[in-house]
């Protein structure tokens, strides 16, 4: 198979949620137990391939994730490769959960075509934001929009988890200070907080 065939096969299987290792020509996609970024012995450049998403689904997911947690003074979801983690987790989910997620992605694209005449990833950031804003509000029209709202809550949770468990999220954005080795526990160094002491 040449690379284009592999690409098409991956998309087809991605839709069914069953990307198989064997079809991915690049050596970079390692098994789930050793992490997705295994360097190949022939030292080709690392290249991540989705196990579950098609290439267009991956792009849509990445776009949504970056809108949920964007680059600000620190990198956002795209830089934190949140899509790669979501892809891994979804590849291991039950068929029911996989189908629900893909239905949600389809819903987003249909909504986008209905409102703006193009798939979600191909519309403008302002248009994309308006779609997500409608989903993020808790009140609203019941029925078909439920699919969209539930999908948004789901992808927001997945994005949040993947971002704040990444190096970028933990160290650059939150500047977490724990998981260290201390010789002594310092406690609160701020005298203005010690209103409870000495009574």
């Amino acid at each position: 198979m040449n690379r284009r065939d592999v690409f098409k096969a991956t998309i087809a299987l991605g839709r069914a949620g069953l990307v198989q290792e064997a079809l991915v020509a690049e050596p970079a996609a390692a098994d789930v137990h050793s992490g997705p970024h295994q360097k190949s012995s022939s030292s080709k450049t690392l290249r991540w391939r989705p196990r579950f998403f098609s290439e267009t689904q991956n792009e849509t997911v990445t776009t949504i994730a970056e809108l949920i947690i964007p680059e600000t003074e620190t990198p956002g979801a795209r830089a934190a490769k949140v899509n790669e983690h979501m892809d891994l987790v979804l590849s291991q989910e039950s068929p029911k959960i996989q189908q629900r997620f893909l239905r949600g992605l389809d819903w987003i694209d249909r909504k986008s075509r209905q409102l703006f005449g193009a798939d979600f990833r191909q519309t403008s950031p302002a248009q994309q934001t308006s779609i997500l804003t409608a989903l993020a509000t808790t009140s609203g029209v019941p029925g078909e929009d439920q699919v969209g709202r539930q999908f948004f809550e789901d992808i927001k949770r997945r994005t949040t988890f993947a971002y704040y468990t990444s190096e970028i999220g933990i160290h650059q954005e939150l500047k977490y200070q724990g998981n260290a080795v201390l010789s002594e526990w310092p406690g609160c160094p701020h005298p203005e907080h010690h209103g409870d002491v000495g009574e």
């Binding site: 964007p70 600000t72 993020a136 933990i170 998981n179 080795v181 201390l182 526990w185 406690g187 907080h193």
Partner: protein, 556 residues
């Protein structure tokens, strides 16, 4: 086949303590553990979520097969948490019991327990005398006081003396200092005339008996690779092995007790965990310390013509009076003065603060008996759990998560459940585990007392947050799922009367004098304090008594 003096089943808190005390007094002890050995040097402390494919959580497939605790990648040791696929249990469809937070490994739950170490109060042993419900313990605080002293001196407990009868003081190691949010919450508690103290935990704040002080890495949950908190492999097991009197046999899955032709208890039958080969072990005395429900399961699986209702069950109460502590409401909020403050190391001490029980001490509450304590946790954590409570998306969402990260505080109540005959375990008629051993069917329901306690606790949690000026993000007025807290107590109840109890005040079976059951199954009431320190003290005391009975020739 060798006949040991004592055979102990289980290497958790009580089994490890019995092994140490008995071997140090010269007895030949066989210590059986269902699970594998664990190399504590291989614990994955100091690791980061992003070093694991599933960020430490485990794959969805594994979570589904073995439960979320067992699937966690940061603790990839067989039996660290019992795998659901190997160790099933059943419940009636309408009565959930979450028994997933248990272990089948050398050290049992001591490898990853919450480390909270409080004594029971004098009145906790006399609940029935005070309010008329249930049964008193057949021993008093005075009987156990010297054992509490010995346990604390041996294992090391950090904490503050408070002079409060509901949590008797011991001789503590210096306490971990309070974090910012703890100072602020303590002031808020004081406004309500409540005392907030450091959570007493079995963590070393200075070197103790050859063990190093805690270096505050915050990884207690995945096991301590330096032994700075109490666990069997770090503390009791090395001492027992050093005597030369201990034989340790891991991978030994005990099925039942075995009797001789006259119906005398002579040992246990077990399967090798890996080969599933069956064999027996014999001893003059059998000590069950497999954890409350597992010890009871062994006894119920030991039916014979001599013990038609299970081992040592002439009373009929074996398996009954099960309780688990419960969480009675929780509130998550943000302290405005800590918003956007510099992020400090808040979770390294893996501890928090504690408001001891303040209900039904001097005056009787009109709606419920017994009481609850309040836990206070918070500050910057490795994962910003409050993110799930922040609405919206985009730059503002990101900004609010970061702004509130150092300022989050969670308070929740931990209550004393009442023991009822109806809350019980039995042997499931159909389901067996991976070794073909019949499993437990667990029946557990909440009582009205639990529900009334929740009403009061929730009010006080909200008032505490108000008193602190906190902005509430989420208030949950619900009782935890039964079993979730993982403090199983009861089912081998102790008492003075053999007609209504299984064990006497030394955890010795009334019906079978060479059987002891030393985990928390013996507890006739539950208090609201975490049970482990009392389990350790009771196990030490039972072991001393057992040794004395040997000296008096009772078991030759």
């Amino acid at each position: 086949m060798k006949i040991y003096d004592v055979l102990i089943v289980g290497t958790g808190a009580s089994g490890g303590m019995a092994a140490k005390v008995l071997t140090e007094q010269g007895l030949e002890v066989l210590l059986l553990e269902a699970g594998p050995k664990v190399d504590t040097a291989k614990f994955l402390t100091h690791s980061w979520p992003y070093e694991f494919p599933f960020r430490g959580v485990g794959s969805p497939k594994d979570i589904k097969k073995n439960g979320s605790w067992a699937a966690a990648e940061r603790s990839p040791f067989v039996g660290y948490y019992a795998e659901k696929s190997q160790h099933p249990y059943t419940t009636p469809a309408d009565k959930p019991f979450d028994w997933s937070l248990r272990s089948r490994i050398l050290g049992g739950r001591t490898l990853h327990w919450g480390r909270q170490s409080f004594r029971l109060a004098e009145f906790d042993f006399k609940g029935a005398s005070r309010d008329g419900y249930g049964e008193d313990w057949p021993l008093t605080y005075a009987d156990l006081a010297s054992y509490y002293d010995k346990v604390e001196a041996y294992i090391g407990v950090q904490g503050m003396k408070e002079g409060l009868p509901q949590i008797p003081d011991g001789d503590f190691l210096p306490p971990f200092a309070f974090n910012c949010f703890e100072h602020l919450m303590r002031k808020a508690a004081r406004k309500m005339q409540l005392r907030m103290t450091a959570l007493r935990t079995a963590q070393l704040t200075r070197p103790h008996r050859g063990r190093p002080a805690c270096h505050c890495c915050g990884s207690c949950g995945v096991g301590c690779d330096v032994g700075a908190f109490f666990s069997t492999p770090a503390v009791t097991l090395p001492d027992a092995l050093a005597t030369g009197k201990l034989t340790l046999r891991t991978d030994a899955v005990v099925r039942h007790a075995v009797m001789d032709k006259e119906g005398h208890l002579k040992g246990v039958g077990f399967y090798d965990r890996q080969t599933k080969a069956y064999q027996e072990a014999h001893a003059k005395v059998v000590v069950l310390a497999a954890s409350t429900l597992e010890s009871t399961r062994i006894m119920l699986n030991s039916r014979s013509r001599f013990h038609p209702n299970g081992l040592a069950n002439s009373s009929g109460v074996l398996g009954h009076y099960l309780t688990d502590h419960f969480t009675a409401g929780s509130v998550v909020g943000v302290l405005p003065e800590l918003r956007s403050t510099e992020v400090l190391n808040d979770d390294g001490k893996s501890s928090g603060s504690y408001i001891p029980r303040f209900r039904n001490l001097e005056t009787r509450h009109p709606k419920f008996i017994r009481g609850y304590a309040i836990m206070v946790k918070g500050g910057s954590r490795i994962y910003p759990g409050h993110a799930d409570l922040v609405g919206g998306f985009g730059a503002e969402y990101k900004r609010r998560i970061k702004r509130d990260h150092p300022a989050v505080v969670t308070v929740y109540a931990r209550g004393e459940p009442l023991q009822t005959f109806k809350n019980c375990v039995e042997i499931d008629p159909v389901v067996v585990d991976a070794w073909g051993i019949p499993v437990l069917k667990i029946h557990y329901e909440r009582t009205d007392n639990d529900r009334h306690m929740l009403d009061d606790a929730f009010d006080n949690l909200q008032e505490l947050m108000q008193s602190a000026g906190a902005e509430v993000m989420h208030a949950d007025k619900s009782l935890s799922v039964p079993g979730e807290i993982s403090h199983e107590m009861g089912t081998t109840r102790m008492g003075k009367d053999p007609k209504t109890s299984v064990l006497n005040k030394f955890s010795q079976a009334h019906d079978v004098r060479n059987l002891f059951v030393i985990d928390a199954g013996c507890w006739p009431s539950s208090a609201c304090q975490n049970p482990t320190e009392t389990i350790l003290a009771m196990a030490w005391r039972a072991s001393d008594y057992l040794t004395e009975e040997f000296r008096l020739g009772k078991f030759s």
